[in-house]
C-alpha cells in the first residue's frame, strides 16, 4: 500500500510551495498577487491529487538498525530514524486534498472580495494550509510541536486581519492562550523524549513497547496531560471553546472555512498520535471521551443562544469537533473510522454553510438574527444552499453527515455506551434547530421595515461554483460513502495494529 520510498517527491513540495508563495505575495503586497496565488493553489491541489504514497526523510539521513548496526534508506526495514520523517498515506491524501480545495476557493474569494494590500492576508492563508499539511503528515513529536505553534500564530493573524476591534480582541485572547497549547506540547515532548530518547513517534512507540515503562508510567501520564491540554487548545474543545469560537466568528467566513479545516486536521492528527503513544494507559480513552461529550453539548447549547448567524456556525463547528474527538477517543475500529470520516464530512458541510455566510457579505454583511432580511427573495440559490448545508450538518440522508454519524452511533452502541449514542442524535437535532432559527430570520422572514434597497447583487461566480461543488461532494459522499471510507479504513487498521 504505502511504497517503500523514503524520498517521495511530493511531500516537500506540499510544504515548500505554500511557503514560497506566502513569501512572494507578502513581499509583493499589492501587485500581481492574484495570478501567482491562484496558480500555486492549483498546483498544490494537483499535487495533492496525483501524489503517490510514501515517506520523505528530510535532510536525507538514513535509519539505524539497532540489531545489525547498519544504516538503511529503506523505510520498510525497521530502524531508528536519524532524519525528520513525513508520511503521505491515504489519510493524508484525502485530508490534504480537501484542505487544498478549500484553500483554492479561499484564495480566489479573497482576491475578488477584499480591498487592496491583500499580500499578508493571502500569505497567511497559504501558511495556514502549510501548517495543517505538516500536522497531518509529520511523524515526529518535535516537528509536530513547531507546526502547532506556527499554526496558532497564523490563526491569530487571520483573525486580526480585518482590523476591527472585535477581531483584535479575539486574536489577542487566542494568541495569549494558544501559547499554552504550544508550551504544553513542548513539555509533553520533553518528557517523552526523556523517557525514550526518540522524537520520531514510531520509534518512541517501538521503544516503549520493547522495553516497557514500569514505574515511569506516571511520567507518561503527565506527558499525556500536557498533550490533552494542547489538543484542547488546538481544536477548541471545552472548556476552551469560547476562544476558538470567537476566532471563527471574527474572521471572514472564507478564512473560517480554512481555519476549521486546519483545526479538524489537528484534532485528527494529534488524536491519533495520542492514541498511539498513550493508548495502552488506563483512563486515557475515558478522558478523551469525556472531553468530547462536554464539547458536543456545550457547543450546541451555545449555538442555540447566539443571535448572529456567523456565531451560530462558529459554535456548531466547535460542537461538531466533539464528534470527531469522540470517535477517536472510543479507540475502536468503528469509532476511529467514524471520527475521521466525520472530520472529512464536517469540513465539507461547514464549508457550504460558511461560503453561504460569505455570500451574505455581498448583501450588506448583516448576519444578526435579530432582524429579518428576506434574502431568499433576492437570491433563492443562496437560501436553498444554506438549507441544504443545514440538512447536511444535521445528519439527514442523503447528505454526508448522516453516514459518519450513523457509524459513530453504531460504534457507541457496540462499546456499550447507548447514552452517548442518544446524545449524538440530540446534538444533530439541536444543530438543525439552531441553524433553522438563523435561516428563517435571515433568509425567509419578510423584513418588518420595507426600506431596504432591492438592487440586484452580483455574487461572484466562484462563490456559486464553490458552493455547488461542496454540495455535490456532500451528496456524493452521502450516497457512496465508500469513496472516502476506502482511504480511511486502511489507516485505521494500521493505527490499531500497532
Amino acid at each position: 500500500m504505502i511504497e517503500s520510498i523514503s524520498n517521495l517527491w511530493s511531500i516537500p513540495l506540499l510544504v515548500i510551495i505554500p511557503m514560497l508563495t506566502a513569501i512572494i505575495v507578502n513581499f509583493l503586497y499589492d501587485k500581481a498577487i492574484k495570478p501567482i496565488a491562484i496558480s500555486s493553489a492549483i498546483i498544490i491541489l494537483i499535487i495533492s491529487i496525483i501524489s503517490p504514497y510514501g515517506y520523505h526523510w528530510f535532510c536525507g539521513h538514513p535509519a539505524l538498525n539497532p540489531e545489525t548496526l547498519t544504516f538503511t534508506f529503506n523505510p520498510n526495514i525497521f530502524g531508528y530514524k536519524l532524519s525528520l520523517e513525513f508520511i503521505f498515506g491515504p489519510l493524508q491524501h484525502i485530508m490534504i486534498f480537501i484542505s487544498s480545495l478549500i484553500l483554492l476557493f479561499c484564495v480566489i474569494l479573497s482576491t475578488i472580495g477584499l480591498t487592496k494590500h491583500q499580500g499578508p492576508y493571502i500569505a497567511l492563508l497559504f501558511l495556514l494550509f502549510m501548517s495543517s499539511a505538516i500536522v497531518i503528515m509529520v511523524n515526529d513529536l518535535y516537528h509536530l510541536w513547531i507546526a502547532v505553534e506556527i499554526g496558532s500564530l497564523i490563526v491569530v493573524g487571520i483573525a486580526a486581519a480585518s482590523g476591527t476591534s472585535i477581531s483584535h480582541k479575539a486574536a489577542l485572547k487566542y494568541g495569549l492562550f494558544s501559547a499554552i497549547s504550544g508550551a504544553g506540547l513542548a513539555v509533553s515532548l520533553a518528557l517523552v523524549l526523556g523517557l525514550t530518547g526518540f522524537s520520531n513517534i514510531s520509534d518512541a512507540i517501538m521503544y516503549l513497547k520493547q522495553f516497557g515503562i514500569g514505574e515511569m508510567s506516571t511520567v507518561l501520564y503527565i506527558a499525556f496531560g500536557f498533550f490533552v491540554l494542547s489538543w484542547m487548545y488546538a481544536g477548541g474543545l471545552a472548556p476552551i471553546h469560547p476562544l476558538k469560537s470567537e476566532v471563527y466568528g471574527a474572521s471572514y467566513p472564507h478564512g473560517t472555512a480554512l481555519l476549521q479545516a486546519q483545526s479538524k486536521l489537528m484534532l485528527v492528527a494529534i488524536g491519533i498520535i495520542m492514541l498511539r503513544l498513550f493508548g495502552m494507559l488506563p483512563f486515557v480513552k475515558e478522558v478523551m471521551i469525556f472531553l468530547s461529550v462536554i464539547t458536543m453539548m456545550i457547543g450546541v447549547i451555545m449555538a442555540l443562544i447566539q443571535i448572529d448567524f456567523r456565531w451560530i456556525i462558529a459554535y456548531l463547528i466547535i460542537s461538531h469537533s466533539g464528534f470527531v474527538t469522540l470517535g477517536i477517543g472510543l479507540g475502536t475500529q468503528e469509532g476511529l473510522i467514524g471520527g475521521i470520516f466525520q472530520a472529512v464530512n464536517d469540513i465539507i458541510y461547514m464549508t457550504i454553510l460558511l461560503l453561504c455566510c460569505e455570500a451574505l457579505f455581498y448583501f450588506g454583511g448583516k448576519t444578526s438574527t435579530k432582524e429579518a432580511y428576506d434574502i431568499a427573495k433576492k437570491s433563492p440559490f443562496i437560501a436553498t444552499a444554506t438549507i441544504l448545508g443545514a440538512i447536511a450538518a444535521s445528519g439527514i440522508p442523503p447528505f454526508n453527515g448522516f453516514q459518519s454519524e450513523i457509524i459513530l452511533i453504531q460504534a457507541c452502541l457496540k462499546e456499550g455506551l447507548p447514552e452517548i449514542a442518544v446524545l449524538i442524535l440530540m446534538v444533530s437535532v439541536t444543530t438543525f434547530i439552531a441553524l433553522l432559527r438563523g435561516i428563517y430570520r435571515i433568509f425567509l422572514k419578510p423584513p418588518e421595515l420595507q426600506d431596504q434597497d432591492n438592487s440586484n447583487v452580483d455574487l461572484p461566480k466562484v462563490l456559486i461554483i464553490g458552493i455547488i461543488i461542496f454540495i455535490i461532494l456532500s451528496i456524493i459522499i452521502g450516497i457512496y460513502p465508500d469513496i472516502v471510507l476506502r482511504f480511511i479504513i486502511p489507516v485505521v487498521k494500521e493505527v490499531l495494529s500497532i
Partner: protein, 274 residues
C-alpha cells in the same frame, strides 16, 4: 485580566499548582535516567559535518525543523505588522468599522548628550559588524543566524532610540521585507540542490555524509568552507557544506522579521510612499 478574578482565578491557581507538582515530580523521576536514544548516534556522527556540534544538530540533522521554526519568526513579524496596520483587508462590498491602527511613538531626542551623539553611531555600526562576524563563525564557534539577526536588529533599535526619526541605520520598508523574504525564501530554496540531486529535501550536498551525490557537487558546495580539524585523535578535513549559507539566510530572515516589528512599532505603518 478581568477573567482571572474570583472563582475562575482560584480554579486557575489550583490547576496551576497541580500541574506544577506533576511536572516537578516527573522531572524528579527522570533525573539521572534520561534516555540518550538517538542523540548518541547523532553525536557519534557529528564530526563528519560542521566542527561545531550544535550547528550540525540544528542545521543538518534537524535542518528542516529549523526551517519551520524560522518561519515562526517570519510569521511573528508578519502578524505583528498586520496588527499595526500593514495589510489590513476589508470586504469591498460592505461597510465595516474602520480598522484599528496604532500611531508612531513620540521621540524626544533633544536631551541627547554630546557623548551619546558622537559615540552612538560608531557603537551601532560596530554592533552590525559584530553581528556579521557572529554569522560567519556559525559552523566553527558559537553563534549563528538567530544571534546575528538579534544583534543587528538591536543595533537598529539602539540607533532608533538615540536618534529618533532620523535613524542613521535607515532600513526602508521594502528593504526590511525584502531581506526577510530573501532570508526565509533562501533557506527554503537551499534545500533544492539536495532535492534535485538525491530526492531528499535539504540533503547537505556539501558535507555529503552518505556519499549520495557526484563529487563535483560535493566540491562546489563543500570546498569553500572546508577546514582542517587538528584534534588529538588525528587530523580531519571537514566541511559544513550548506550550513553556513543556511545561517546567513536565517540571519536575513530574523533581521527582516524583528526589524519589521521594530519598524512598525516605532514608526507606525502607512501605506503611502516609501
Amino acid at each position: 485580566m478581568e477573567e482571572l478574578k474570583g472563582k475562575r482565578g482560584i480554579i486557575a491557581l489550583i490547576a496551576l499548582i497541580i500541574i506544577t507538582i506533576g511536572l516537578l515530580s516527573s522531572l524528579e523521576k527522570l533525573t539521572g535516567r534520561v534516555n540518550p536514544g538517538i542523540s548518541e548516534v547523532y553525536n557519534a556522527l557529528a564530526y563528519l559535518v560542521a566542527p561545531n556540534n550544535l550547528a550540525t544538530w540544528v542545521y543538518d540533522w534537524r535542518g528542516f525543523d529549523t526551517l519551520i521554526e524560522t518561519a515562526v519568526i517570519y510569521v511573528g513579524g508578519l502578524v505583528s505588522a498586520l496588527v499595526i496596520g500593514r495589510g489590513v483587508v476589508q470586504m469591498k462590498k460592505c461597510k465595516q468599522e474602520s480598522p484599528v491602527t496604532s500611531k508612531p511613538l513620540e521621540f524626544r531626542v533633544e536631551s541627547l548628550t554630546v557623548i551619546l551623539e558622537y559615540l552612538g553611531i560608531p557603537a551601532a555600526i560596530l554592533l552590525i559588524s559584530y553581528g556579521i562576524m557572529i554569522v560567519t563563525g556559525s559552523s566553527t564557534s558559537g553563534g549563528g543566524g538567530f544571534q546575528c539577526g538579534v544583534i543587528m536588529t538591536s543595533a537598529y533599535l539602539l540607533a532608533a532610540i538615540l536618534y529618533g526619526k532620523n535613524n542613521p541605520i535607515k532600513f526602508g520598508k521594502r528593504f526590511i521585507i525584502g531581506i526577510g523574504a530573501i532570508g526565509l525564501g533562501g533557506y527554503a530554496l537551499l534545500g533544492l540542490p539536495g532535492y534535485l540531486a538525491t530526492g531528499y529535501w535539504q540533503y547537505n550536498i556539501g558535507a555529503d555524509v552518505w556519499s549520495l551525490v557526484p563529487s563535483i557537487l560535493h566540491t562546489i558546495f563543500g570546498d569553500p568552507f572546508r577546514l582542517s580539524l587538528i584534534l588529538k585523535e588525528g587530523v580531519f578535513y571537514s566541511t559544513p557544506g550548506i550550513v553556513p549559507l543556511i545561517n546567513i539566510a536565517e540571519a536575513f530572515n530574523v533581521i527582516g522579521a524583528i526589524g519589521l516589528i521594530y519598524f512598525a512599532f516605532l514608526y507606525g505603518w502607512s501605506d503611502e510612499g516609501e
